[in-house]
């Protein structure tokens, strides 16, 4: 065997090894999701069968029945997420503008303050929020859950809004002022529309965070407010793998779509300024 053949053989061996590792990686990554998808269409699946014994859409029909628990939970989840976005944006647009454009004392301290709810182990906080809400008589209401979700999502909406306002060209604002627009008019007709893509992105982020939130709702929302993650938890703990898997798939769709399109929502110049 000459040197060239040995080298070609080594290259082939390396390529095979790489392909094998990639296949193993794909298995680890996709396997759990595939298992979830299989369970959602498995009408009967028990040992020792490696694949479902019979397939069908019975559980999908059960979940999507207009009177079913899942549709009610989906409605609750979306309603809470919409309210959370409204609350978060109402608080973060002024705060983001102040952080990006105005002379604010101890600015870094305020930025950190918005981060803290995310940077602390949250369970210990939520049990006390639930206790306080219970004393106020608002535990188990949509209002209470929205407040918890908004506080949790505020770091994203404030930081991204600050970055979006920071990326707006100051010269455009000055030009509007020079031709006689009031500061308020300048804000609403120049600054806000230019920052809108980033702010919409932060709204989508907050919406998803709220849709997926489990721990806070678990303590503050029970027993009256059942969002999709709580339905998923109850179904999984009750041994109903089909309903749990279908609920999980419903939650999966917006997450994966967001992952695929995030770069279109958040322009690089805004992304680079987040947290700065």
């Amino acid at each position: 065997m000459n040197g060239r053949a040995v080298m070609r053989l080594a290259a082939a061996a390396r390529a095979t090894l790489a392909a094998f590792l990639l296949a193993a990686f794909a298995f680890v990554l996709i396997g759990p999701l595939a298992n979830l998808a299989l369970w959602s269409v498995a009408e009967r699946w028990y040992t020792p069968y490696k694949l479902p014994v019979s397939y069908g859409t019975r559980y999908w029909e059960q979940v999507f029945r207009p009177t079913g628990d899942a549709m009610a939970s989906l409605g609750t989840s979306v309603w809470i997420a919409v309210l959370t976005v409204i609350v978060a944006l109402a608080l973060s647009i002024p705060a983001g503008y102040a952080l990006a454009r105005l002379k604010l004392p101890v600015r870094a301290f305020f930025m950190i303050l918005f981060l803290l709810p995310q940077a602390f182990p949250s369970v210990a906080i939520y049990i006390n929020v639930a206790r306080i809400f219970y004393q106020l008589g608002i535990n188990g209401t949509v209002f209470a859950v929205v407040l918890v979700h908004a506080a949790h999502g505020l770091v994203y909406s404030v930081w991204i809004a600050a970055a979006a306002f920071g990326a707006v060209d100051r010269d455009l604002e000055l030009a509007a002022r020079n031709i006689g627009a009031s500061p308020l008019k300048t804000f609403f007709s120049v600054t806000l529309p230019l920052a809108a893509p980033g702010i919409i992105a932060s709204g989508i982020f907050v919406f998803l965070e709220s849709l997926d939130e489990f721990t806070g709702t678990f303590f503050v929302g029970v027993p009256q407010v059942t969002t999709l993650p709580l339905l998923l938890y109850n179904a999984a703990m009750g041994g109903n793998y089909q309903v749990a898997s279908i609920t999980a798939l419903i939650l999966l769709v917006p997450s994966v779509l967001f992952m695929l399109f995030i770069e279109r929502f958040l322009r690089a110049d805004v992304l680079a300024k987040v947290g700065a």
Binding site: P32, L91, L113, F114, F120, L232
Partner: protein, 278 residues
Amino acid sequence: MSLSQRQLALLLIAPGLALVAALFLYPLFFSLVSAFTGPDGGFSLQSFGKAWELYSGDVVFTVVIVLASCFFTGLAAIVIAGTLTLGENRWIVGTLKALYRWPLFIPFIVAAQCMRTFLAKNGLMNNSFVSLGLIEPLQAVSFLDWRGIIATFVWKQTPFVALLLAGALAAIDRATLEAGRNLGASRIRVLIELALPQVMPTLLVALVLSFVTMLSVLSVPMMVAGSQPTMLTVDMAFRINAYGDYATANALGVITYLISAGAAIIYLRRGMAQEGAR
């Protein structure tokens, strides 16, 4: 009345701060007071004694799980980000790039449900191994214990760390890496000795964030593993839901604050050491 810019700024930021104060700072204060108050209403460390007596094993379990998850997450992220940056086979890099980000925004509770089925004794993983002839059917064991929790955390957090790391690696000076390659260093050596030291701060930030995130997750240990031993989040929920025992739950909460503060301090000290070296 005319406002100064400072006053206007404070006015604009006040509602947001009020929400954080009401739903984070006040409950935090509440948890500290509750943890350090004895049955007679005075200062006491009694709740910590009880928490330690009942849950010292779970404290160790939690720290080990989270540290191990961070270690494997870091390792997987280095391999992925390194391949994305230094990989020469375009087909492999392309496939990896398309695949690795999938779990990025998948909620923990969905990841937990996936792993509950995938890692079970008769889950897809064992079934695939049996079908491929890698193991005998009788050798199949359930991974739904500490291994399942680590696997779920690594599966969920790796894309986040890899994304930040790949971004940092893409931003470093290619010339040094090329020079290393030209001098005959293997790609693994270039990655470990030239590229990684430059992106260490990014890796550490990502891992500290992951550390705190894993410490806060309730759904994964509840759904993936059995009841004992378990993580502190589950113990806290149990103390509240079963006994209404806020004192012990809050003592456990303070212990989790201390654990996450430990991670933050290690990170800050390293940052300061680097500043000092400059």
